[in-house]
């Protein structure tokens, strides 16, 4: 059995990428190769495990056909608007009020307690995850950017019922950690339930920023539209 080839064939079989003939050959092999059955069984368990995590761990990206935005005049305009927005944000908002790059020494224990962990990873799909907002403490946020850079800028925007998005916090100079994530913390008490977008991109560049929409909801209640 060619393990490398079977690895791919199994997944092709599961997702329906095999022709009728290939599928028939594969199913015939199943009755002769116990090891192949075990490996297929494991593939199905892993795939199911990933899918079960979809709602709670992975963010769903609107589309996966192109992961990197194409530069165009529209995006150029959006980028310029983004720069303006960020400059405004730097002046108008106190970035440390809600987001902080790390837990600073001297923070009271009751405020430094981690109340939740949010992980944002780009995957295919279309739904917006509902995340539980803890009553107090810090929310550890980690984001896996698809664009490599030395440092990143993160902006948290709150979406209004009208569809507009208002920036509420931002950080710059965030490094990519050795685990492949960009980390920061949010103060739970400074957030309210509602719809948000977390944007992340290389410092000083807007064209490749990624957006992660999510809903925050308080315990026992749904996210409000405000």
């Amino acid at each position: 059995m060619n393990a490398d080839r079977d690895l791919v064939t199994m997944q092709d079989f599961i997702v329906g990428r095999l022709s009728d003939e290939e599928r028939s050959v594969f199913e015939d092999r199943l009755v002769h190769e116990p090891k192949l059955v075990r490996e297929l069984e494991q593939s199905l368990r892993m795939r199911e495990g990933f899918r079960q995590l979809r709602a709670t761990y992975f963010r769903k990206a609107p589309s996966q056909t192109r992961r990197f935005p194409v530069w165009s005049p529209v995006l150029a305009a959006a980028a310029a608007a983004g720069v303006a927005l960020f400059l405004w944000l730097s002046r108008a908002a106190d970035p440390s009020a809600i987001l902080t790059p790390s837990i600073t020494a001297g923070t009271p224990p009751q405020l430094a307690a981690i109340g939740a962990h949010f992980t944002f990873v780009t995957v295919r799909g279309s739904s917006v995850p509902d995340l539980d907002l803890p009553a107090s403490g810090l929310i550890e946020i980690r984001v896996a950017p698809t664009v490599r850079a030395n440092t990143y800028r993160m902006t948290l925007l709150r979406r209004e019922a009208t569809g507009s998005a208002e920036p509420v916090a931002g950080l710059t100079g965030l490094p990519l950690s050795s685990d492949g994530y960009v980390h920061c913390f949010a103060k739970a008490a400074r957030l309210a339930s509602g719809s948000y977008v977390l944007r992340i991109g290389p410092d000083g560049e807007n064209s490749t920023a990624e957006a992660f929409p999510f809903n925050l909801r308080t315990e026992g209640g749904a996210a409000s539209s405000r």
């Binding site: 199943l30 002769h32 368990r45 892993m46 495990g49 899918r51 079960q52 709670t56 295919r124």
Partner: protein, 203 residues
Amino acid sequence: MLAPQADLPAPVSDPASYLAAVYRDYPGLRALILRRVRDPELAADILQDAAVTTLEKLRSGEIAYPENLGGYLYRVALNHLRNYRRKDRSALSSPEGLDELALPDSDPEPQSVDGPQWASAVRRMLDEMPVARDREVLIRFYLDDEDRETICRDLLLSEEHFNRVVFRARNRFRELIEHRGFRKVDLLMLAAVTLCTLVAGFK
């Protein structure tokens, strides 16, 4: 021609225990059927029919390699699933995709008994991976259903690297499932996923 008497499998005296063994030993197959038909009762019916058919073939000596009953069960179950879908063809706008075993992303998550445990194992496996690109390989392969060629091309990976990442992940996943080496945070995750599954079931 019938196989020599000495090669015939021992008669299965307890079909109920056989069915129980099917449920215990092939939860992946069970999850696949459930995900495909989205109805727990229908999925159970299809699996039970497959188990009964396999059992009958075993008794009649039609199964040449009884030590690989699982392989037969898989083939029979997938045939039953396809038969069901052919009967249900009227619900499809096109027969295209009839044999696809995957569930469209827009469909609600079906409940899988073992799903929360597998989800915890996957999460821990991903958390333990130090390289973000390797995590992306797994996510795109197992969650986004992208093929190896596309993933390797997009991430500038060799097929050898891709295979290495997937093999390591599969081994770690197997260890986590077999040894139940869960941490406290995994148990909390397990509880959360179970709760989400139950809540989704009530909707």
